[in-house]
Amino acid sequence: MKVESRTVLGAFAFLTILAIVYWVLVALHGSSTERSGIAMLVFSFAAYALLGGYLLAQYLRRHGIPRAEDRFDATQEDGAGVIDYFPATSIWPAAMGLGMVFGACALVWGLWYLAIGAVLFFGAVFGWVTESDYTEDVLPGSDPDELAASHGDFASTGAHHDH
């Protein structure tokens, strides 16, 4: 997480300097219509501050213990374990996408389309958030303990990356 957070915080530092320089130059020479540029640069460095700050917090939370993917000498064994839950297939993203397209049509042709769009969208939200639990119950071998039991050499040490 060290390189990740430093990359984003570096971009934050650059954009902060850029915004200040631009602000000063506009104040000295520019016209009043350039306020939008200042606003957007401030938005930019604020956005990077948020993201970089989060990554830095993640880095500090580990007290300098690197993840397997941050170590130059890590082997594949260091990454053994369940990586993550990867859903196989799902109809809900397509339903939600269709709902959002109908929502977009409502902006063009009238609110009538919003009714269809909202039904699809919220139906998809419901299906999506309830899907994970349902799948974990149904799919064989998705339980880490069960996996550990079925693979003798496989330690269920949880995710090899932190969330």
Binding site: E4, T33, F72, Q76
Partner: protein, 558 residues
Amino acid sequence: MTILEERPQLPFEAHEPSLMEIVPGPRPHGIVKFVTSTDHKQIGLNYLFTGLAGFVIAGLMALVMRTQLIVPNNHFVTENVYNEMFTIHGTIMLFVFAGPFAFAGFGNYLVPLMIGAPDMAFPRFNNLSYWLYLGGFSLLLAGFLTNNGAAQFGWFGYAPLTEAIHSPGPGADLWIVGIGLTGFSGIFTAVNIITTVFTLRAPGMVMFRMPIFVWNILVTMFLILLAFPVLTAAMALLWIDRHLGGNFYDATKGGQPILWQNLFWFFGHPEVYIIALPYFGIATEILATMSRKPVFGYKGMIAATLSIGALAMGVWAHHMYTTGAVLLPFFAAMSLLIAVPTGIKFFNWIGTMWRGTIVLNTAMLFCLGFLAMFLFGGITGVILAQPVLDFQLHNTYFVVAHFHYVLIGAVMAGFGGLYYWLPKMTGRKLSEKWGKLGFALLFIGFNLTFFPQHDLGLRGMPRRIETYNAGMGWNFLNELSSIGAYITALGVLVNAWNIFTSWRNGELAGDNPWDGQTLEWACSSPPPDHNFEALPPIRSERPVWDANHPDMLTKVGH
């Protein structure tokens, strides 16, 4: 520079059992797979071929425009149709083809493979972004079916042309929401890929061992996170102007048309790098593999990418010099500065090829075509970055020639990427014979189309005029340009035919047809579900090369 002592302990074998466990699941086929698959490879292919469809459709519009301009005082299409053509041509090429083809198509397919991940971090979210992208594309095209036709104000939709009184009807609204949806799709892809790169790398795949392609995609994604929300906001304000009586861009009611230009180009210039950076990455990977050398100046390349990404946020108003409302010295200085990291990249590409064992196949030819054309576009860019020259050339065909050289230069690398990675995606190589013919036609066609347009611009031909008088001295150059467009179309046909036939009957590629260096060549072609059955030890930025050539290990410096 020292050579690490511990080197790959075991020779890498393709089917050694994996230590990673992945939750299995059902895998449907056919249309159900297309709709419901959360596999990053399926979604990547969806993006690639939807993008290519956009390229063909927008290319046909370009042919209509060039046919209209082939002789003076032509009446092939009406003014309105011509305006719709150049508007939707630009919009589709930028928002549907050039950007998503690379960052979402190649990005989706290759980023997890290159960092040794089983899939993207949010697979369902990934599927959703494809549907938003396809929805946006469809709505952009739907404009042609409405009574007043599609939008007619050019791809950057300057106020006040976009206001309801000048562009009535749903065509302009469809343009707004179509771009809005592709914008959302881009933001979702950005969130997904950034999370994937930060949290799903294989053990040992530290940030400074990731392929340059992954670094470039990562920086692209950060640019998307800053640029696309601004575009969406600008579109929302425009929609409020058109439907709810807002006055953001309407000068007659106290609004500021220049606000639109600031908002649009604050998105629009980073968008140029959002388009270009992934193609830089594609070119880097192909050049390194085909020269059989590691990337020259690996960290310098990353530094150049990061500087391009940072400087890209401060150059937006160089599109607005002639408005008289922007700070000329600031934007001229920033625009000239950004040529420096791009120059570093060219230096490193040449350094990568220098004294390498160069394999001149189609993928490599496309990369060399990219180097030549992008360099030319970059040089005219430096010309246009200077206000004194831009005041002369603004809104002429010189600008059209400039950005087509930049974008088609980049897209050349994209075609190279198809020849390089389709064997991985389909398991079959593309025909070299047809490929070289296709490259020759495209290269000649593109240059013949756009080189004369520099001169047309210098002779004062403004962009976006649907016809011109015979006595302007523009006839011959326009004729050349149109003939070039037809040759380009022939080149696209040859390449499409090549992809179509090779998909079924091409030579079997095997896992690693080019003796590649990065992790995507460690799995089978096409890769299985969740990608890797085994991973080679990752001890440098080219683990597969190290595993296959233990006598020629990559030198590593920390």
